[in-house]
């Protein structure tokens, strides 16, 4: 039993080490910054939506050019991959539900719309935290929800959609700062190895 627990811990340690680089934190922070831009320029939001590709490109490129060369490459077990698939399924389902409710105009008919959306805003990052063992995401889930609440309250008071955008920006900047701190620590802990040295023994 003890052996089982230790092996699970070992796998978790290897898995969570992939979040030491702070790239995900910066990427999610960038998503909130783009959300701020889209909400600030509400009239042009459809032209600004492609900006959401920037955080995705950042995460992909940073993992490829910063993390992997320093930390090495690992492929995790099928059980771990299954967890990721469940997460994708939950996230897709949540987004589809939100889209259906928005497109069909059902949000206007529901009495507790902000509470429902707020719950979904809290639920998605919590799912990420749970299924990916990405514990910082629980804190971000609270930040997301607070930003959403602040955004809704500001819009309700001013009647201007753009006025609530700052709420997302605050959370985004907090996440980016945390991510940068992790990234700096990561770069110090894992310096770039001399090219070819580490493959000699395995060739």
């Amino acid at each position: 039993m003890t052996q089982n627990i230790n092996l699970k811990e070992l796998e978790k340690k290897a898995w969570t080490s992939t979040f030491e680089d702070g790239i995900m934190d910066i990427g999610i922070g960038l998503i909130l910054v783009v959300t701020t831009i889209c909400q600030t320029f509400d009239d042009a939001r459809f032209y600004l939506y492609p900006l959401f590709i920037v955080p995705v490109l950042f995460i992909t490129a940073a993992k490829k050019y910063i993390t992997t060369p320093r930390m090495g490459l690992v492929k995790f077990s099928r059980a771990r991959n299954r967890k990721s698939y469940v997460l994708y399924l939950i996230m897709t389902a949540s987004i589809v539900i939100l889209l259906i409710l928005t497109v069909k105009g059902l949000f206007q008919q529901l009495p507790m719309t902000p509470v429902i959306v707020g719950a979904i805003v809290f639920f998605i990052p919590c799912s990420i935290a749970y299924f990916l063992n990405f514990d910082r995401m629980y804190i971000y889930a609270i930040l997301f929800t607070l930003s959403f609440a602040l955004n809704e309250i500001t819009i309700a008071n001013t009647g201007v959609i753009a006025s609530g955008a700052y709420a997302w920006l605050i959370s985004g900047i907090i996440m980016i700062v945390i991510g940068v701190v992790y990234l700096v620590r990561f770069l110090k802990k894992y310096p770039l190895p001399v090219k070819g040295v580490y493959n000699d023994s395995t060739n």
């Binding site: 340690k13 930390m71 492929k75 040295v197 395995t202």
Partner: protein, 108 residues
Amino acid sequence: MSASDSDGEDHHPIAEIDRLIHEPARLMIMAYLYVVESADFLFLMHQTGLTHGNLSSHMSKLEAAGYIEIVKEFVDRKPHTMLQLTDKGRTAFQKYRQSMMQVFDDLP
């Protein structure tokens, strides 16, 4: 290489313990490769905290025993060397775990 091979008739759980795996550094390498599908040399070096020379030496022993294998694959169209447990290595590790648990279970 296992203890049972050298001791011949002795079937006590302690005698069943695979000495090749029992060495702490190699046990750590085996444990890491047991919980992931495959990993490269650099990742294992960081996770185990072993130096390049140490890891390399232990890897050679485990590879010679047929416990790990080197897999060449292409990552982003570049050749990359990955390490993984063989079926023999996986079985040996499971057997080692059982033997160890049995040893401690048998203690008064």
